[in-house]
Structure formats: structure tokens, C-alpha cells
């Protein structure tokens, strides 16, 4: 496969995954903004959404404060924001168009019809009362693409690059969501917390579609350190860091095996993080410092992305 083709597939998957993650963040912010509350550090859910999206610096260059209207506009349809949902879908489609021949017809049509439907959207579709419908549509389109890829593409290098792109993006996103709220996840926080905290924890779980999963795994009321454990170390939770790295190493192995067994720095780095997540314990992460762990994880994942690029995509 051409390196350029692999690179396009990788980024295509990242953009689609990013659009879905942004939709989840907004969904949660909408939900939380309906709950009357004042958080301890004087920020609000809209600010958190901006931070978790990884766009904090860029957003505050152009905006003084994170009000509902500004954030919704910025994260859904602002063309100036390369990570807005509209920008992500446009970039995904442009990547897909370049590598059409490497995609199945269904995967291409999932992306292309998303782009075509996007052109039909108007101001009304982004208004507060219609926003949820739009966000559901975004999630649906992402799931449709993922489904089309999984069930119609040949499970060989193109497919693996697609998965690797999606997983890198997802690992980064889950880590950022956790990092924004890390202070409410610390074990000692439970004693200081009040009723508001249930919403805080539920927010985190909801933003990765894991509220139900939590109850199935723990059969217990929501405890902050268990929330952290679920999203960091539980391999059965499809948005957890452990899951992402488990699948990442598998896909990187598939590539290495298909390409005659050659492994590189990206395999070493992915394997190292995977081993830590697989055999690590949440107590150790708390001892190390949750925030420090998450910051390090985000940096490592970024570095892994670069190594994958060096090995295969240039």
C-alpha cells in the first residue's frame, strides 16, 4: 500500500472519531448545563468541553469567555476551528476522496453522504433546541462509518491503519476527558463531595457512553476511583485507555506480520504502554498522581502517533 494512502486512511479515521468525541462532549455539556450548580473553581461545563476537546488555547485566542453559544458554535460549525465537527467531517471526506480506491464502496458512501447531508444543514439545525438531534446525527454517522469499515473492508493493512487512527484519537480523547475532571476522581474527594458530585462523575461516564457499563462492571453506586479504574484499566470497556492500547498493539502486530515481521519503535512504545495498562493497578496510578499520569499518557500517545507516521506513513 502507498504510504500516502495509509496516511490518508489513518487521518480519515482520526477525523471521524474526533467528530464523534466532540459530539459526546457537547452532549454532556448540554446535559450538565440543565443542572443548577456552581462548581468550586468557578468554571462551567462549556469551559470543560473546550478543555477536553484539546482546543483551549485556540478557543481563547478568539473568545473571552466560554458561553454556551460560543462553545456550541466553535465546536460544531466553526470552519476556523480544525477540530469542529464540520471541519472534521469535511477533512475526513477530503481524505476519503483521495483514497477512494482503498475504501469499500459502503465506507466511501458513508463518508460522502455525511458530507452531502452536512451541506443541507442550516442555522436552525444548530440552535439549542435542535442541537441534540444534530449531535445524535453526528454519532450515527460515525457509527455508520465504523460499521461499514468493519463489515465491508478487507481486514488487511488498510483496515488496520483505519483502526490505528481511530484508536489513537480515542485514547487521546478519553485521557483528556479524565484529565479535565481529575480532581473529582481522587479517592479523598469522596468525603468532601456533595450531591453535585454524582453529576460530575456521571458526566464523565456519559461522555464516553459508560454509565451503564459502570453498573454492569461494578454493581455498586458510582465511586470516583472506580470511575477512573473503569476508564483507564478495564480492557472490556471500549473507550478505556487499556482497551485502546490493547487493540493498538494488536493492529500494529498485524501490520508487522503482514509486512514480513519487521517491527520498529512504534511497536516498542505501544507495547510498553499496553503492558503498563494491562498489569497496572489504579492505586499505583493514584500514588504516582492521576494528573501526572494522564499528562504523561497524552504525551506518550502523541509520540506514538509520530512513530507510526515515521514507520509507515511517509
Amino acid at each position: 500500500m502507498l504510504s500516502r494512502t495509509a496516511e490518508n486512511i489513518y487521518w480519515l479515521a482520526r477525523y471521524v472519531e474526533r467528530a464523534e468525541n466532540i459530539a459526546r462532549l457537547l452532549d454532556v455539556a448540554l446535559r450538565m448545563s440543565a443542572v443548577p450548580q456552581e462548581s468550586s473553581d468557578g468554571t462551567n461545563e462549556w469551559h470543560s468541553a473546550i478543555v477536553a476537546s484539546g482546543c483551549e488555547d485556540h478557543f481563547y485566542e478568539a473568545h473571552e469567555r466560554a458561553g454556551a453559544q460560543e462553545v456550541i458554535h466553535y465546536l460544531t460549525r466553526d470552519r476556523e476551528n480544525p477540530s469542529s465537527i464540520i471541519s472534521c467531517f469535511a477533512a475526513a471526506r477530503s481524505n476519503a476522496r483521495t483514497v477512494r480506491t482503498a475504501l469499500s464502496t459502503s465506507a466511501w458512501e458513508a463518508i460522502n453522504s455525511t458530507w452531502l447531508e452536512m451541506a443541507e444543514l442550516d442555522d436552525k439545525d444548530f440552535s439549542p433546541e435542535h442541537l441534540r438531534k444534530f449531535l445524535d446525527w453526528v454519532k450515527e454517522r460515525s457509527l455508520l462509518f465504523g460499521g461499514a469499515v468493519a463489515s465491508t473492508m478487507m481486514h488487511r493493512d488498510g483496515y488496520w491503519f483505519n483502526r490505528i487512527g481511530a484508536l489513537i484519537e480515542r485514547a487521546d480523547s478519553t485521557a483528556r476527558i479524565l484529565d479535565v475532571k481529575y480532581h473529582v476522581l481522587l479517592p479523598e474527594y469522596e468525603t468532601i463531595g456533595g450531591t453535585i458530585d454524582f453529576y460530575q462523575w456521571a458526566t464523565i461516564l456519559r461522555s464516553v457512553s459508560a454509565l451503564r457499563a459502570y453498573h454492569w462492571v461494578y454493581r455498586d453506586r458510582v465511586k470516583p476511583w472506580l470511575v477512573a479504574e473503569l476508564l483507564i484499566l478495564k480492557p472490556e470497556m471500549p473507550r478505556s485507555l487499556a482497551y485502546c492500547y490493547h487493540e493498538l498493539t494488536q493492529n500494529l502486530d498485524h501490520l508487522a506480520n503482514a509486512y514480513g515481521g519487521a517491527r520498529g519503535e512504534c511497536h516498542r512504545q505501544a507495547g510498553k504502554t499496553d503492558a503498563f495498562l494491562r498489569y497496572g493497578k489504579i492505586d499505583h496510578i493514584f500514588e504516582q498522581g492521576l494528573h501526572e499520569f494522564l499528562t504523561g499518557f497524552i504525551e506518550d500517545t502523541d509520540a506514538l502517533g509520530l512513530e507510526i507516521t515515521n514507520q509507515y506513513l511517509t
Partner: protein, 477 residues
């Protein structure tokens, strides 16, 4: 004038109260289709094209940058005997054109015999001096060509122009059939149409058959595209996909030790045959345009070393120059010793003083073309031009007469076409595609282009023309 033409020109289906044999099935269907069916089918077709992303980018003006080429659901139909005639004429023409290119870059006997002015060939922008004396695999230069044919009567076909560089449109030929089969499975089945779907396989075999001598093992073929912003990008990706070959851009290729490689996820991989869809001047910045980023530095050196085949060969464009066109009948006689089966449209070369004065006098009834233009850009259709436009064009003509040729305004045949006002006759042409490797192959049919505006003779997609599926019927006639 347009109204006169309407009565004068040949209709593919037949005059109002008659129906030519090959159109009987379609006419019956058109007459019996319930009210509104055509509109529904038309919309369905548009939806399919849009969803699969079959679009065409147009270089000028704003609007939708990814426009659909209008597709007309009423097919253009030729019977078996008409096609036999066309295909023998096309095969003959392609053999002669290819022999001419070989001669231009070889012994130059055609020039030395005084059959064509030397300066018309040697000073032509389509002439590539790097090709002189260079042998090519199987002697083939124009591996893929598209020859535009117009019809003015039941048995009168003319060659309008030859396209020997990188003709496009074959993807529409294939997709149009695909869409028709989806929309009208019964009709397509009943009509017994010669299939075209094997074209990509024929194309790949043709390209493989001209692999360089130095190629060991199965030849690796790639399609070189200028990229996503090219108007025919859809076609490039479609063909690469159908053939199962890599669609590469210049930056994906690299020349090392006079060999061409592509950059892959496994490292560098040898390339033997390049089906290029970029023009000669962009192929290699070390030899042609130095600031072109579309091509591959060192490609021509690898080509000269016999390590790669470029299809079509650089310099093949010398054969489709509109001024060289007038010499094609003579090429057929000279190289093949045969009389031309398909005729040229009578053409005045404005570079010749007597021709120029005739053209200036009759400008209002002629079509005048820039010899180096393509896609209908820079062309004057006399009968449809205003006084001011005619005067303006006359000035351009006098300033550089040698860059223009003129032809009579032909009464192009019409074919029933679904338009806003219902079903009405519209002018059509035909571009069949001819493959030449170690043998010559034709896909039965080609791309029928249709001028969607009433009376218009300009069928180019860049000028709002549309396409139709072209049916060659099995066994009748």
C-alpha cells in the same frame, strides 16, 4: 439557422412518425411509460451519481465545484453493422496515427516524402524532441486514444478530432451502463447490448503487454494522477480501482539508479508501467517544466534507460494536433496503403492565405477552433455568434491565423433526450475508446455526449454538455 438545422439533421431514432429498427424497444417504452416515470428515473440516476461521487470539476467560475455531468436516461443506440463499420474505420485510423508518431520520432519518411510541412511537425508544441530515436515497447505510442465521431446521415460519419494524449470519459461509459442496468434492468436485458464492463481488464492487459524489456516478473502498473483537484480525478481513481492498481501522485514515485519506485508502507517498490494522466510538460521537472510538482524528477532518464514504460508515450500529442488532423487521410494511404474508411470533416487551415480569406468571408457559417485548445475552450460557433463576437474573432484570426482551423457547421445527428420540456431531440457525438498494446482492442460503443441546450452543437462537459449510455446491439442489422 438553428431552426433550419432542426429539420435538416438526421435523428438517431428516426423522423417523427417512423422509428429505426434499433430504437423500437425504447420508443415503445417511452410511449407506454406512465406519466412522470421519466422524471422519477431521471432523479434516481442523479441520486446514484451524486452518492457514488461521480463528479467532474470545472476550471472556470464559481458555483458547485463538484458538478455532476448531466446524465440523460434515454440511450443512444447503434446496431451491429453500424458498429462494425465504425470499428474497422477506427482501427485503421489508430494504426495510421501510431505509425505516424513512430515515423516522426524515427525515420521521418512522411515529412521527407513531402506529405506534411516539416515545420508543422518539428516546431509543433506537441513535438517532444527527447523522443527522437527512442524505441518504445511493441512500437506503441498511443496506448489509449479517444476518437470523436459525429454523424450527419444514416451512413455518414465524420471524425471530428483525435485524442492521443490522455483522453477522458471512459469511466462515464462504464458508469452510465451501470446506472442504466440498475434503473432499467428489463430493458437492458431485452435489448441484448454488447457488454463494455471488461474495458478495465483490457486496459490492464494492454498496459502489461507494453512493459519494458528490462522488466522481470509480472509488470507492476500504476496510474499517475495530478491529484484530487484535477477535473478527471474521479475517473483516475475509478480506473485504478477497477484494474486493482495503485493510484499514485508524483510525490509517491521516486527514481533511484534509473529505476522508478513507489513509496509504500513496506518501503520502496519497483514500478514498470505508468499509465499517466498528466500532460507531457509536467512529467519530469528535470526535463520539462522545472517548477512542476506533479511529475517525477528523473522519470525521463529512467524511460530512456528502458526501465519503465510511459503510456501514452511522451510526444504522442503530435498526432492529435488540430492542424496535423488534416493530414490523417494521407497518413492512412502512406503508412497502410489503404483508403480511409472514416472521413475527416472538411477543414480550412487558416495558416494558408486562400483558406484564411475564405474563412473570414464565411465566418458566420463556420466553426473555428484553436488548434491547441481542448474541451471546447476558445472556440467560435459562427451561426450562434453575435455580430460583435464575429468581429472580435476575426481580429484574433488575422493576428495569428496559423493557430486556427475552420470547419463547416455540421448538422450533427440528434437523439431523443429528456429535458425540462419533455423528450426532445438534442445533438450528440460519440467518443469511442481504442486500446493499443501488442494488439488493438475497442470497447463496443464509447461515450455519447449530448448538447443539453436546444440547437446547441457544443457537447463538451466543460460547456454544460451531458452524456448518454451508448448501446451497440448484438446481432441485428
Amino acid at each position: 439557422m438553428p431552426s433550419e438545422m432542426k429539420t435538416a439533421c438526421f435523428d438517431e431514432m428516426g423522423p417523427a412518425n417512423e422509428c429505426r429498427e434499433q430504437y423500437r424497444l425504447i420508443r415503445d417504452w417511452l410511449e407506454n411509460a406512465p406519466e412522470g416515470t421519466l422524471e422519477i428515473k431521471h432523479r434516481e440516476a442523479e441520486f446514484i451519481f451524486r452518492r457514488t461521487g461521480i463528479t467532474f470539476a470545472v476550471y472556470t467560475s464559481g458555483g458547485d465545484p463538484e458538478r455532476l455531468i448531466p446524465f440523460d436516461i434515454i440511450p443512444r443506440i447503434l446496431d451491429n453493422s453500424e458498429w462494425d463499420y465504425l470499428s474497422s474505420g477506427l482501427t485503421q485510423r489508430v494504426r495510421a496515427l501510431n505509425a505516424f508518431i513512430g515515423d516522426v520520432y524515427g525515420k521521418q519518411e512522411f515529412i521527407r516524402a513531402g506529405k506534411i510541412p516539416a515545420e508543422l511537425v518539428l516546431l509543433n508544441p506537441g513535438f517532444v524532441s527527447e523522443m527522437v530515436g527512442l524505441p518504445v515497447a511493441a512500437g506503441a505510442y498511443m496506448h489509449i486514444s479517444g476518437i470523436d465521431i459525429v454523424r450527419v446521415g444514416p451512413k455518414e460519419f465524420y471524425v471530428l478530432e483525435d485524442n492521443c494524449r490522455t483522453p477522458s470519459g471512459v469511466s462515464y461509459m462504464l458508469e452510465n451502463r451501470e446506472v442504466m442496468t440498475r434503473l432499467f434492468p428489463d430493458l437492458v436485458n431485452k435489448a441484448r447490448i454488447k457488454p463494455v464492463s471488461h474495458y478495465p481488464e483490457d486496459l490492464l492487459e494492454t498496459l502489461r503487454s507494453v512493459a519494458p524489456l528490462n522488466c522481470r516478473g509480472a509488470p507492476e502498473v500504476v496510474l499517475l494522477t495530478p491529484g484530487i483537484f484535477n477535473s478527471a480525478y474521479y475517473e483516475h481513481s475509478f480506473l485504478a480501482d477497477e484494474m486493482g492498481i495503485e493510484l499514485v501522485e508524483g510525490a509517491d514515485l521516486v527514481v533511484q539508479d534509473l529505476m522508478v519506485y513507489m513509496r509504500t508502507t513496506r518501503g520502496l517498490k519497483r514500478v514498470d508501467v505508468i499509465y499517466r494522466r498528466i500532460d507531457d510538460p509536467y512529467l519530469d521537472p528535470l526535463v520539462f517544466l522545472p517548477d512542476s510538482s506533479l511529475g517525477v524528477p528523473g522519470l525521463m532518464a529512467a524511460y530512456h534507460a528502458g526501465n519503465v514504460t510511459i503510456a501514452n508515450a511522451p510526444g504522442a500529442g503530435i498526432a492529435d494536433d488540430k492542424a496535423v488532423y488534416t493530414y490523417v487521410p494521407e497518413m492512412i494511404r502512406f503508412f497502410l496503403g489503404e483508403e480511409p474508411i472514416l472521413h475527416n470533416v472538411p477543414t480550412w487551415k487558416c495558416g494558408t492565405p486562400s483558406d484564411l480569406s475564405y474563412v473570414l468571408e464565411h465566418l458566420h457559417e463556420l466553426v473555428v477552433k484553436d488548434v491547441h485548445g481542448s474541451g471546447g475552450y476558445g472556440m467560435l460557433v459562427g451561426p450562434h455568434a453575435s455580430k460583435a463576437e464575429l468581429a472580435e474573432f476575426a481580429v484574433k484570426l488575422r493576428a495569428s491565423p496559423q493557430t486556427y482551423i475552420a470547419q463547416p457547421t455540421l448538422a450533427l445527428s440528434t437523439c431523443p433526450t429528456f429535458v425540462d420540456s419533455g423528450v426532445a431531440p438534442r445533438h450528440v457525438d460519440l467518443r469511442p475508446f481504442i486500446l493499443m498494446g501488442r494488439e488493438i482492442r475497442l470497447a463496443p460503443g464509447g461515450l455519447t455526449r449530448v448538447a443539453m441546450r436546444e440547437g446547441s452543437l457544443v457537447v463538451n462537459s466543460s460547456q454544460g454538455g451531458g452524456t448518454k449510455d451508448t448501446w451497440i446491439l448484438e446481432g441485428t442489422g
